[in-house]
Symmetry: C2
Subunit: 192 residues, 2 copies
Amino acid sequence: MNVSAKPERTRLSAEDWEDAALRLIADQGVGALAVEALARQLGVTKGSFYWHFRTREALLQAALERWEQYGEREVISQIEAMPDPRARLPELFRRVAHEIAPHRVYAALLKALDHPQVVPVMARVSQRRMEFLTTIYREAGLPPPEALNRARLTYAAYVGFLQLNFTLGLPRISHEEFDAYVEHMITTLTPG
Amino acid sequence: MNVSAKPERTRLSAEDWEDAALRLIADQGVGALAVEALARQLGVTKGSFYWHFRTREALLQAALERWEQYGEREVISQIEAMPDPRARLPELFRRVAHEIAPHRVYAALLKALDHPQVVPVMARVSQRRMEFLTTIYREAGLPPPEALNRARLTYAAYVGFLQLNFTLGLPRISHEEFDAYVEHMITTLTPG
DNA sequence: CAATAACCATACGCTTGAGTATGGATGCTC
DNA sequence: GAGCATCCATACTCAAGCGTATGGTTATTG
């Protein structure tokens, strides 16, 4: 069982706190991560929290590590399993474009790059993703140095899109228009 | 005269506080904007601050408006003055890429999109810049709908670059490598 | 069914930072 | 140079949020 979403009034584990922390981060950012607020949301008090964690920092650290591991392993492996290398890029783009939920934590952490704790995590995650992108571009036929730069460009476009669209609410784009944008992006950034 | 940089011990004006606020924002982000810290940095105490501003929010608001107006008018007008439309894009790219200082406030505000006060300012500024970009792309020969999408893509790449490079310190790229990246970006995103 | 461990509540102390009250110092103006 | 407006210092209050101390409750185990 172990339904850890709503106040089921069962006793809490450290993981429950970490999940709640990630949810709160996705919703309101790292700055809003306060122990008393979290406790209220979980239907308990601080007394519970300080049994599971030594400090607020410890919770943030644990939540970040949890998020980093939970990772996007499935996406990467699924894309890698595709036989045709040229088909991987468009598929990756469309996938990322239409699954917004998993990117909300990443977008929130992007706005928290002043906190020393999130920097190394984001550095590792971003690095891994960009290496993956670089490989895909090489397998799609780009010479190594160009593949690297193209990956940088693509990933920057991804990050910027996150900020501009569901952090800032820039011109609330319609569904059709959004799809057109994605296709434009694919044709512009895909070699050949 | 009015040298408003170092503690010249002259009396302060509201504009001095706003400039100091912008400097602090560029350095440490909006979250670090505290009145007592600012006062220390200016060599005075809170007593001074609360004469010029009614509240901390008021200072942030004034600083943001000041920044928005101060704007990047020169850049835009200089680019617009170039006779050959096709030459404008590369010039704009290279310019933006090599003048880091003016973008530090923008990058800091990008990380503060949870604060309700900065959202409308950033929305307006980003909107204006993207419209400018769209115009340039149209004048460079792209049909209107594509010009808009290309502008979105380009601006997203810009925003993402800010985050990834001098907020997160992603792979400290060398000068030559950076120039190569900029050129790659130009050839990839420039039509024709 | 004790007894021990795991979990949580209540009540406190401490620090930080915003905002207020008030009086003193400095400049301007007639 | 007397008087008013401008600018700043000092000394508070108040709320938020982290962390601690301590005792109570629920589960678990021998």
